[in-house]
Amino acid sequence: MKIVVAYKWAPNPQDASVGVDGAVDWSRAKPGISEYDPVAIELARRLAEATGGEVIALTAGPKSVDASMARKAALSRGFDRAVIVADDALEGAGTTELAAVLAAAVRHIGDVDVVITGDSSVDVGAKMVPTVLAGQLGWPAVAEVTAVSGSDPAAGLLRVERAITGGTQVLEITGPAVLAASTDAAVPRVPGMRDILAAGKKPVETLEVPALDVPASGTTVTVTATARPDLKARKGQLIDTADPAAAAAELVAALRADGAI
């Protein structure tokens, strides 16, 4: 089974700062594997261990995604090899464009059985790439995946569990699919010493966008403005009554007085 994990080399928002005008300063944000992507890697490794498959890392972005440290950080997480689309033309690329490039890279890899992604990227958080990627490939997309196993790998059958409101749904999928792991689907393994020291020796194929067959798109999406939500004035009213029943009555009366209930 050929398993691809599409991960993002993204700046960590914990190191970003927000100015008084709401502008985000990313200059001090250290890049790393996007927060939820290790969960996708863990699902992929478990599937590979169960089916004897290969786990391939795939990412696309500006040249920095192919930096030596970026490669090793990804490959130390248990991948067998990596395919990296590194092209400065992808600097600031939108979801649709990025998904189209990833889809072309998946076709380039060939014979892929499943693509697994994280729930969303840590910097943008649009949750769009898995769906658009699946659309580009003409494959089904399943979100909130909590587990995946090969019910019959020889027949290309995947058994997928996904979280739904109030329970779990079990799907059997024939043929390739794109799965987005839920944020708590698995506890990712910490890379071992040997994984880290071997990371620099694993095969990496680096491509630029022109080397891929990316269909042209006439549509572009540009973020023209961002704004913070308006701060709502709060009453800050404290009900300081020892008797719970009296406090509840006071609360209800206050809510009624304000027309909230």
């Binding site: 090793k72 950080a73 910490v190 071992g192 010493m193 880290i196 020291l197 620099g200």
Partner: protein
């Protein structure tokens, strides 16, 4: 000069932080409070290769350098000094002399088991009447046919009772002083070898520190490590590396105390402002950060010299001395920043304060480090006159 860690070392640092946050931090306060040796951590440490960091892959190690091992010890100590001591004594003190002086058969049998973390190691030199003064040791090893017979006792042995493999020094020729000391590998459960009660310590409470007793303990002749009479040299060379490890522990303890202090100073509001805005607190933080950085550079330099095959005994002593005293000073200031809360078990800095003290004592007290450093400095001056 290159002060940058390599990409692999940075990834190792990141990995140990991730491991420590997930596996060690949640139990650090509890194992300290209950004096509980964290047996459950050993297989987890082994799984990610942290029990045999500086040993070749052919012996089951990770195949990393000593600086990487130093980073591992530092990062574990940042969260839990006891855990770092367990790893440092195992990989730095017990496995090292076997790697350096062991026969191929000894390496295959013992180093592999230690480096993979399948078995835990301990190093035993100190005796009731012989700490720094190793020549006063009373434990003897007498050759009898194909066996050595050990008699005597050891004290303050880290990992005692939990270790499977002990590197033990004993006098094979008491008349020759330090040249009469030899080193041996002793397996637990060897008849005549027993472990005493755990010490109740001020700090590193989750680590096990015990006496060892040898009473007509017979070990095979091929348990001798290196040659007869080389035990003191083996111990001193092992301690050179061990001092880098203790320095790393001290840096980690200090960094953990600083991290906690900065977080607290930003949160704690007095007179309407976070106390981090007060100059008195800022100056303490500045001194703590500067001293930790200096200590870390000394420790990393000593590790780098070891990796590059340079003589590093002097630098190891300087690193250990400065880092240990830095840890105690920094932990003291951390409590001061926390005020009354810092004096309680609710915050980790009181543990850091207790844990820091031992770094000034074991593997050569600060006084011994000063003797060594001064002796070398005085000799060097004479040589360059």
């Amino acid at each position: 000069m290159d002060f940058e860690l390599s990409e692999e070392q940075l990834l190792i640092q990141e990995m140990v932080r991730e491991f420590a946050a997930a596996e060690v931090a949640p139990i650090a306060a509890e194992i300290d409070r209950n004096h509980r040796f964290p047996e459950e951590l050993i297989p987890k440490l082994a799984e990610v290769g942290l029990m045999g960091v500086p040993y070749p892959e052919e012996f089951g190690g990770a195949g990393a350098d000593y600086l990487s091992f130093t980073i591992v010890v530092e990062e574990l100590a940042r969260v839990c000094a006891s855990t770092s001591v367990i790893v440092a004594a195992h990989a730095g003190l017990a496995a090292w002399p076997i790697f350096e002086y062991g026969t191929p058969a000894q390496k295959e049998k013992y180093l592999r088991a230690l480096a993979t973390g399948e078995k835990l190691g301990a190093f035993a030199l100190t005796e009731p009447g012989a700490g720094t003064d190793a020549a006063s040791g009373k434990t003897t090893a007498v050759l009898d046919g194909d066996e050595y017979v050990l008699n005597g006792s050891k004290i303050f042995i880290t990992n005692g009772g939990y270790a499977d493999i002990y590197v033990v020094t004993a006098m094979t020729d008491p008349d020759r002083g330090t040249r009469g000391i030899s080193a041996f590998i002793v397996e637990k459960d060897t008849p005549g070898f027993t472990v005493g009660e755990r010490e109740h310590k001020m700090g590193i409470k989750a680590s096990s520190t015990t006496p060892l007793y040898f009473s007509d303990c017979r070990i095979p002749k091929d348990a001798l490590l290196g040659k007869e009479g080389r035990g003191f040299v083996i111990a001193m060379e092992t301690f050179d590396g061990g001092r880098v490890g203790v320095g790393a522990q001290a840096v980690g303890i200090a960094q953990g105390a600083l991290d906690a202090s900065i977080a607290y100073a930003k949160e704690r509001v007095q007179f309407g402002k976070p106390i981090s805005t007060f100059e008195a607190i800022q100056w303490m933080i500045a001194d703590m950060a500067t001293e930790i950085d200096a200590a870390r550079l000394l420790v990393y330099r000593a590790a780098w010299m070891k990796d590059n095959g340079l003589k590093y005994g002097q630098e190891a002593s300087m690193a250990k001395l400065f880092a240990a005293e830095t840890a105690t000073r920094v932990a003291g200031k951390a409590i001061q920043i926390h005020g009354g809360y810092g004096f309680t078990e609710s915050y980790p800095v009181e543990r850091a304060y207790r844990d820091a003290k031992i770094t000034e004592i074991y593997e050569g007290t600060s006084e011994v480090q000063r003797m060594t450093i001064a002796g070398n400095a005085l000799r060097k001056h004479k040589a360059t006159k």
